[in-house]
Structures are given as C-alpha cells and as structure tokens.
C-alpha cells in the first residue's frame, strides 16, 4: 500500500517551551471485524506501534489498535533544547513500516 503522511510543527520554537506536533498518517486501520463483498473476512491491519524521536531520543510513543479510525491523526506536545530533527516511525500488523521527519530551529 502506498502510504502517505502529513506533519505540522512550528518552523521555529523557543528553547524549553512546549510546542505542538501534529501528524496524520494515511492508513486503513482495518479492524479485522469486517468482511468484503464476497463475505470473506478482511484481515486485521492496524498501525500498532508509533514512536517519535527528537535527535534520537524518544519523546512520544503510542500503541494504536482497532479502536482507532482510519488515517490516524495524532497531536502531542514536545519541548526542545537544541535545534534538530523530529523523526516519526510506525509499523502495522502487516509488518509495513512508515516514517516521516521534520526539522526544528530552536531559538532563545
């Protein structure tokens, strides 16, 4: 499946001040409870692990599952001391991995 994602962070943040990170990921989040037009069960496939690192250090992690709607949209707060890169990684039940990144400039 050709995944996609969108990330939004401020381009510039102040040292030590919390800022909001938003990410939305294209994913069907198949619950495993649905059947196709022929009555055949559709295999469960959800993103089950999501992690965000800042300059290598984990700053946010989530376990998602079948209770989350398709195309999950996550928002959380992070503080930064130095400029650097936010990296997002996730993996679904089919073993498919996705990633995204955003760079931040820290001032003050």
């Amino acid at each position: 499946m050709a995944a996609g994602s969108r990330v939004q962070v401020p381009t510039e943040v102040r040292r030590g001040e919390p800022f909001e990170v938003k990410i939305s990921v294209r994913h069907p989040m198949e619950t495993g409870f649905r059947v196709d037009d022929m009555g055949k069960p559709i295999a469960r496939n959800t993103i089950h692990e999501f992690i965000c690192r800042y300059n290598g250090t984990p700053v946010f992690a989530a376990n998602l599952g079948s209770g989350i709607a398709a195309n999950p949209y996550l928002r959380f707060f992070v503080t930064a001391l130095d400029s650097g890169e936010l990296k997002f990684e996730w993996v679904d039940d089919a073993g498919e991995r996705g990633d995204a990144a955003a760079t931040l400039r820290v001032t003050g």
Binding site: A2, S24, A69, N71, Y73
Partner: protein, 257 residues
C-alpha cells in the same frame, strides 16, 4: 390526484427548466447540515483527512509516467495557475468526441492520450488523489458549468434522471434533496444534495470518495438499479447537479459523515 401531481411536476420540469428549484438565496452547502465537529474538521486543513490525498496528488502531478515520459506538470506548469477554476466548470463536453466528461475522465484522458499511460481505475487511490489535487486548486470558487450548445442535451438527460422515480422505493432525487432537505432520515439530515465538496472524505467510508460513489450510495439507498461509475448517464447527472448548485463554492476535499 396522483396524476395531477405528476402533470404539475412535468409542467414544472419544462417551464422552469432554466431556474433551479432551489433559488440561489436558499442554496446551502452540504457541510452546513453537519455537526460542529464535522465543520471544524473540514475547515482545518490539517485535521481534514482529504488533504492526505491532495498532497499525494501533488506528488503524482510532478512524477513522469507512461511511455511519453511526461508528468502532468511538464505540460501544465504551475498548477495553481493552470488549474485555477477548472473544477468549477466541470463536467464539460469534450471537444474531440462530443461526450460529457467529469474531472476524473478529463484526468484519465490526459493519462492515456498525453502521457501514454494506462487509465486509472475509478475510485483508485491515484485517481482520487489527482482529482482532489486538481479540484483543490479551485477551492472557494463558485460552481459555474455551461449548459448551452452541445451541453444542453446532456443537461436535459441529467435533469430527467434527477426528477424520475427510481428503484423499489420509487423515489426521485428531488423527493429527498428538494422536497425534504433539512429533515432527518434515520441518523442523517438530508441536505440539498450538492456536488461542491467532492471528492470528499466520508467518515462512513473512512476514505476519500468521488461524487459518482456518493450518487451510487443514494441509488443503493433507494434500491435502484446501479449505474456503472463510467455510465454517461451518471456524468450527465453530475452536470445537472453542478448547474443546480450554481454559485456554491468548491469545497473539495470536503468532509462528510
């Protein structure tokens, strides 16, 4: 009594064909019938899941495909200029073969004849993405389709389909979207049935979907014979829908229940 109503309907259909049944002052986009959460989701470009497709469409726009080795952008250069307002005047009659085509068909025509690439399947991720990207460039612009000259026959066909009764429930599109808008149908509020938000993200679909898919869902709802997604009658109907929504701003990608 029944015959009287039918006669009236026929007369109305002919006499007032040039003015939509819902006057411009009462036109309301489907989003205005949605909940506050739904409206917020549509208007926030980050929360709107349809923007995932728009972004994907932008990448596809720049990627060369097919044996011609060309990207959409190779010929159309700056999308925000070249495509501005295009979605607001579709469907149109295609000059070369005199058929009525919607935006999806136009994009596929460029795929096959210009890029020399295979056509994209209806409702495929890529066709939805390109359509959402193209339509998004017209966001906020008023719908303004032409129904004159060669478009007239298709318009008539679409209007006739709209006012005819269909399916086991023996209902016309107008029975719900012109005579009962604002009323509840099970959990939904019936809107005026406008096309300006499509392709739209429907929570029930958990995906973006085309206007054709939405219309097919209505046909399914009244247990009518299904129109194939490339049936010319469906495109003619889309033309009629755009005309009766004349002036409503393009919202694509909209968000719906």
């Amino acid at each position: 009594m029944r015959i009287g109503i039918l006669l009236l309907a026929l007369l109305a259909g002919n006499t007032f064909a040039q003015t939509p049944a819902i006057p411009a002052s009462e036109l309301r986009s489907g989003v205005s019938f949605g909940s506050a959460e739904l409206r917020a989701m549509q208007s926030d470009d980050f929360a709107n899941p349809g923007m995932l497709w728009v972004e994907r469409g932008q990448k596809l726009w720049q990627t060369p495909v097919g044996s011609a080795g060309r990207a959409c952008a190779s010929c159309h250069s700056d999308a925000s200029l070249a495509l501005k307002g295009v979605a607001a005047r579709y469907p149109v009659v295609n000059a070369s073969d005199r058929r009525v085509i919607d935006l999806e068909a136009r994009i596929n025509a460029c795929r096959t004849s210009q890029q020399k690439a295979p056509a994209l399947a209806a409702e495929s991720e890529d066709l939805l993405a390109l359509t959402a990207f193209v339509a998004h460039q017209s966001r906020g612009m008023p719908l303004a389709v032409s129904i004159s000259d060669s478009a007239r026959a298709f318009f008539d066909q679409g209007r006739d389909f709209y006012y005819a009764r269909h399916g086991q429930m023996d209902l016309s599109c107008a029975d719900c979207h012109e005579h009962n808008w604002g009323r509840k149908l099970l959990a939904e509020t019936i809107s005026q049935g406008h096309p300006n938000a499509y392709p739209a993200y429907r929570l029930e679909w958990q995906s973006l979907g085309s206007l054709a898919r939405r219309i097919r869902a209505c046909l399914f709802g009244i247990r009518a014979q299904m129109l194939a997604s490339d049936d010319p009658q469906l495109t003619a109907l889309e033309l009629f829908l755009a005309w009766r929504a004349d002036g409503l701003p393009v919202e694509a990608p909209g968000v719906r229940r």
